[in-house]
Symmetry: C2
Subunit: 361 residues, 2 copies
């Protein structure tokens, strides 16, 4: 879908973050460095320690004051994971880093491929690689993730909290346009809109209205819509029905964890938080989080991180290099055996799998 000219000598800001982010990031960088050489890309990497709970413990904040200017000098951000709920509440660590990036860098597209890969055990009966292959296109800056609201009558029986969902025409139309363009570029040309206009009866009918309006500009694309409740059911029952699924911030968040779960494991799922106009750096990160429960054992699956690197190369204008990394992932999965991490049935450590993939590029 990327038709941009390649970015020359792209500068990459590498932020490993917390937990298994620190374990999978070296494998992501390893694969990128192989592709860098092989395809003569001239990518440069700088590593940063902020946007992590360790940084917070030392500095009392998630990021330095000049984080915005610093990161603006990069063509993309390669991100691991953030959050250590036993150290800092998630809403503090996340809103102080990842969600800041999405807003400040206007990364309004969150793009998440959902694909059943060979060699990954699938929790659904009778599904094989190729059967599941779609994208979730998630609005990434507004909607249900708002910062407007608060508490009244604290510590009394009358206590309540409110939070405003905000859907702007600007925000809704641009994500729909992106999703329609993506659908148009794919063979099936099929777009599914996630709604809940029967229950969330103010914002969601508006979403439907904008989908209806946008669909008129893409007459080749077949549009349908499902309420989010039955849509999650359809992901399990008929995942082969989908091509491009467009959703609000919250619904997209849900669907892009559920989709990968239906393909076996969220550990392999990548994502891009993209500013399509390229005015700001885009960010690429695995869908899994920092996974404090398995951190320290070096058993984390690095494929989500490595595949995110492949998406980043695509975004930067190097689709062949991106594809080379993706093909290497598939090759190693098909070969199977020892290098695979325990979640894939192997006995490999994080770096065993990372090295096997790097060697296959």
């Amino acid at each position: 879908m990327n038709t941009k000219k390649p970015v020359k000598n792209p500068k990459i800001a590498v932020i490993a973050g917390d937990g298994i982010g620190k374990e999978v990031m070296p494998e992501g960088v390893r694969a990128l460095q192989v592709a860098n050489q092989k395809f003569n890309i001239g990518m440069q990497f700088d590593h940063f320690d902020f946007a992590s709970c360790d940084y917070y413990l030392e500095h009392g904040k998630m990021m330095p004051d000049d984080w915005f200017e610093t990161l603006m000098q990069y063509d993309a951000i390669f991100f691991g994971a953030v959050g250590m709920p036993n150290i800092l509440p998630d809403h503090v660590s996340l809103w102080g880093s990842l969600i800041q990036f999405r807003r400040s860098f206007d990364q309004y597209v969150n793009l998440r491929p959902v694909r059943l890969l060979p060699g990954v055990p699938c929790p659904l009966a009778n599904r094989k690689p190729g059967d599941i292959d779609f994208f979730v296109v998630r609005e990434n800056t507004e909607g249900e993730y708002s910062s407007v609201g608060g508490k009244m009558f604290p510590d009394t029986d009358r206590e309540f909290v409110v939070q405003e969902s905000v859907f702007t025409r600007h925000g809704v139309d641009r994500i729909l346009k992106y999703a329609y363009e993506l659908a148009q570029s794919r063979p099936k040309k099929h777009l599914t809109s996630a709604t809940k206009s029967n229950g969330i009866a103010i914002t969601m009918p508006y979403w439907d209205e904008r989908v209806e309006a946008m669909s008129k500009q893409f007459s080749e694309v077949r549009t349908d819509k499902y309420h989010i409740d039955i849509l999650t059911a359809q992901f399990v029952m008929n995942p082969d029905r989908f091509d491009v699924v467009v959703a609000s911030n919250l619904f997209g968040d849900i669907l892009s964890d559920l989709g990968p779960a239906c393909t076996g494991t969220i550990a392999v799922a990548p994502s891009g938080s993209i500013n399509p106009e390229g005015k700001f750096p885009s960010l690429f990160e695995p869908v899994h989080g920092s996974a404090p429960d398995i951190f320290g054992k070096m058993i984390a699956n690095p494929i989500g991180q490595i595949w995110s690197g492949s998406m980043m190369l695509d975004h930067l204008g190097y689709p062949e290099a991106g594809l080379a990394i993706f093909n290497a992932i598939e090759k190693v999965l098909v070969a199977g055996g020892a290098p695979l991490t325990p979640d894939l049935g192997g006995t490999g450590k994080t770096d065993d799998l990372g090295k096997a993939i790097a060697a296959a590029i």
Copy 2:
């Protein structure tokens, strides 16, 4: 879980509603009538045509002005389905009927069993009856389903809509208490709270706070929490992990479609919208909707409706009668063959399956 005295000669308001609601309702009533006789319950049924799109077409509104007084004379409402989006937008038909009932009759608990039944083909690999058996307890009156909000700058580029989510201590605490009591009454004594406090950073941290406070009063119950995104993934990957799942209005809506999908089909799933204090009538209905796409063919599966009747008997204080209906459903599913509707692999019509179940009670 019901320890109430039986309601004497319960009066039931029957509302078939729209679409397949009209096809499955006679089967629900058929089963109830058999149980009525067999267990000498003395139940009486009155049928109403309002809360349907047909009624709307004739009267320009979903319900007569005195619907509240009328239905207050009943001990429970036995409901089919409502909504015909080609006739009337869902948010008009639903907010004019079902969601009205939930609010006006303070049916603050939406109780939805998720159980893998014998003979129902399961989309998950390697799961058998007994492996999946839990309850979704959904808050049913507030949260994300609010009527506060609106549009500004209509028909301009600055257009936006907002909608307020509202979580009150009153509303949150009572649903948590119900869920904890249910968990306490079950062998596993395990409660899972659905949250999204890392992203929905105003209302959801409040939800977590109230769970934390309530958990202190139920020291025997093991509590854990998942963010809604990964929770949907867990429903697919580890559905055997759950016992009682408590969730806000929207999250509960999603989980109670996804759960039944993981057990094979939402067509069999029942639900109760319950006012536990019995000050108002509670409502029992299948989870599936009016399904306009299959309406008219008499192929709709009546089990969701019949099982809802079983839940209603339980609620009215006749647990043996409720169990008899549930056992009859299982028996007919195990026997398999012709009477099953097409979605279950049979060739039966809606009433064939209904009659088979009635005969097995």
